[in-house]
């Protein structure tokens, strides 16, 4: 039997019992839709996180105290920072930061922006607000791709004079002053008076945007001398993080090498490093690894429903084979070979699952379009963008056809093995 005849036979068999075919399709449709939608959700979140990190500058390298075993980023870094506070060697200082500007030691470094954070209770008028106060130098805005909306950023003069000035994140400004410009106003942080000199643009372009908008920036020296209880060691100011800007994305790796070498020399290290250098790319990679695991997990859970749909196909194909036993007998008497019967039923079940896969795909696009632009992570969060890429589509269609073939083979084999006489006699 030629492929076209096989296809037409399978199609006419399916359309002769539309209700049953439809219900069987439903199982596959739900499975495929669930897989694609959940994976698209996962990928959407992943893309959102990635792009928000990239928005901070792709040629950014960060240096944190503590070796890579005890310190990385996120929570681990915080813990390591505290644990290492008592240890001299686990500290980075302002001198370390400026040493990296040496054009001989680190020619790839364009700018260096050390930061030092401190918690603070900000009060303005009747409103008070808990925020992170970040001690920075003027380079910070450039290095972290942040822009000033109103007023100005922290200047070299402010740093030199330990000035009591702050630049507010857009979220802080909104909470304390509404839509008005607060430049020139006075706020109290931990009881001390500060003058607002500027407000940053919203960093809302990503997953972390909301978080960054809740920060307050002050001169690094001000934070050290007026807000923290860290001691000055050897006349130097300890910092939490040193942001280093590489000249471009390609020189990031080279920058990491140079910075590491320079710090090892200034820290007189012969064994393990007491600092960790992380590129934005590495951060993205490790976050992607984590989110990939989530995407796969979501996909697998949805995959279970696809599996159930596949079992539905197998069930219906077994019923079909039994029902059409006599037809199989007739076809065999007319000269149908085993493989003719085998293909007839396999094509039928593959057709069933492929149709289900295609409808499920269309449905998933529909659900994705409904979710797009919704703030699915809560009020004020980033508008969601689902990502249905070719990989997901091929995977879902491949899996659905594969399921049709896999669960179709057993019923089809049973059909093909029927003895023509028994099949003809079947009532």
């Amino acid at each position: 039997m030629n492929p076209l005849d096989t296809f037409i036979t399978a199609l006419s068999a399916l359309t002769s019992n539309k209700m049953r075919a439809g219900l069987t399709l439903l199982g596959i449709i739900i499975g495929v839709t669930a897989v694609i939608v959940l994976m698209a959700l996962g990928r959407g979140v992943q893309t959102s996180i990635t792009s928000s990190i990239e928005a901070l500058g792709t040629n950014l390298v960060t240096i944190t105290p503590g070796s890579s075993e005890t310190g990385g980023f996120g929570e681990v870094r915080l813990l390591a920072g505290r644990a290492g506070a008592g240890r001299q060697e686990a500290k980075l200082t302002l001198t370390d930061a400026y040493a990296l500007l040496d054009p001989v030691m680190a020619p790839s470094v364009v700018a260096v922006a050390p930061e030092k954070s401190s918690g603070g209770q900000i009060v303005a008028g009747g409103t008070d607000f808990g925020a992170q106060v970040l001690g920075v130098t003027p380079e910070y805005a450039d290095v972290r791709n942040s822009k000033v909306k109103w007023g100005e950023f922290v200047s070299a003069g402010h740093v030199r004079n330990n000035s009591s000035v702050v630049v507010l994140g857009s979220g802080v400004s909104e909470t304390l002053f509404g839509m008005r410009s607060p430049v020139g106003q006075t706020v109290r942080i931990n009881g001390k008076q500060f003058t607002v000199i500027g407000v940053m643009e919203s960093q809302g372009g990503g997953f972390f945007g909301g978080f960054l908008d809740q920060q307050v920036y002050a001169p690094l020296t001000t934070v050290h001398y007026r807000m923290s209880f860290d001691r000055t060691t050897r006349g130097d100011i300890p910092v939490d993080t040193i942001n280093v800007q590489a000249s471009d994305v390609e020189s990031v790796d080279k920058t990491i090498e140079e910075v590491t070498a320079a710090l090892r020399i200034s820290h007189r290290i012969t064994g393990d490093d007491d600092f960790t250098v992380t590129s934005q790319q590495q951060t993205i990679q490790s976050i992607q690894q984590a989110t990939n695991a989530i995407v796969v997990f979501l996909g697998s859970i949805a995959g279970i429903s696809l599996l159930v749909g596949g079992i539905g196909i197998m069930n219906i194909m077994l019923v079909t084979v039994t029902e059409r036993t006599r037809e199989i007998g007739i076809r065999k008497a007319m000269g149908a070979k085993r493989r003719d019967i085998l293909f007839q039923f396999i094509v039928e079940s593959a057709l069933l699952s492929l149709t289900g896969g295609l409808i499920g795909l269309a449905l998933a696009y529909g659900v994705g379009a409904l979710l797009d632009g919704q703030q699915i992570f809560g009020e004020g969060s980033e508008p969601f963008v689902s990502v249905i890429d070719r990989g997901i589509v091929m995977l879902a269609l491949g899996v659905s056809v594969g399921i049709g073939l896999f669960f179709g083979i057993y019923p089809a084999t049973r059909a093909a093995r029927l003895h023509p006489i028994d099949a003809l006699r079947y009532e």
């Binding site: 030629n2 002769s16 076809r331 007319m334 085993r338 003719d340 003809l424």
Partner: protein
């Protein structure tokens, strides 16, 4: 005609014919030697179209072995119209299944067109069914989803692809149903359905037409129509027709009646039909 020259032996249950052939060859060797020749060449000799030699068929029914056929030997020549009679359980359906290549003998041999069918694989058997055997069933066995013409085309989908529609239409014309080609089986009378069944058997231009109780489900007028169609196919196209029946008057319309009882041929004789 070959059939008229043939002399039957006095013992009625076998028909033995001398095959002019190199006597040093066994029948199996001869079969293999001839298997590669074109059918026209093979039929030009006086060899019978089909020959059964001591065929037995045993079924396992649970613990019990049932010998459905217990040593059947017979020959049927090209262009014969034969009926096989016998009560139920006599083995006539089993004999029919073996002749139709739906089943293979437990022992003994069956030569169709000088080819030993017992030695063939499932696929080769299917191929022979598809090209050489035309089945007509008591219950018509048409596929209900398909039109009359699609039903007639069915055997051709498994063998050759060329001119299927035209050949199906011609076969329907030969049974007088050209105008019903696009009707579904449910829209046809029993007699018409059986004629579609005959057209389906005919379309492949088979060597043998095997009809299992073709009139069993029909009234006498339709039965007569069906028998007329079968007889005219036998007469006009020298088509070999084998009818399994238990109706005396149907058997009487054929040239030769083979009677079966308890898995054996008990009588094999010519009828008094004087139609040619």
């Amino acid at each position: 005609m070959a059939r008229k020259r043939r002399r039957r032996k006095s013992t009625a249950d076998t028909v033995v014919r001398q095959v002019p052939e190199d006597s040093s060859m066994t029948s199996r060797k001869r079969a293999r030697a001839r298997a590669d020749r074109r059918p026209a060449e093979r039929r030009s000799g006086s060899a019978p179209l089909l020959r059964l030699e001591e065929v037995t068929k045993t079924y396992q029914m649970g613990e019990v072995e049932v010998g459905a056929l217990q040593g059947v030997s017979l020959e049927i020549g090209k262009g014969e119209m034969v009926s096989i009679m016998g009560p139920s359980g006599s083995g006539k359906s089993t004999l029919m299944n073996i002749i139709g290549c739906l089943d293979v003998p437990t022992s003994g041999s069956y030569f169709l067109d000088e080819r030993d069918v017992g030695a063939l694989s499932d696929n080769r058997l299917a191929d022979i069914r598809g090209r050489q055997i035309g089945f007509v069933f008591q219950t018509y066995n048409l596929l209900p989803r398909m039109s009359a013409r699609a039903n007639v085309e069915l055997p051709l989908t498994y063998t050759s692809g060329r001119g299927r529609r035209r050949r199906a239409q011609e076969a329907l014309e030969r049974v007088g149903l050209a105008d019903r080609a696009s009707h579904k089986p449910t829209e046809l009378s029993g007699g018409q359905q059986q004629r579609v069944g005959i057209a389906r058997a005919l379309v492949k231009e088979p060597a043998i037409m095997l009809a299992d109780e073709p009139t069993g489900n029909l009234d006498s007028r339709s039965s007569e129509e069906i028998m007329d169609v079968l007889k005219s196919l036998n007469r006009d196209q020298r088509l070999t027709v084998i009818i399994v029946t238990h109706e005396e008057d149907i058997a009487a319309q054929t040239d030769r009646v083979i009677s079966m009882l308890d898995g054996k041929v008990v009588r094999d004789g010519r009828t008094s039909r004087q139609s040619r």
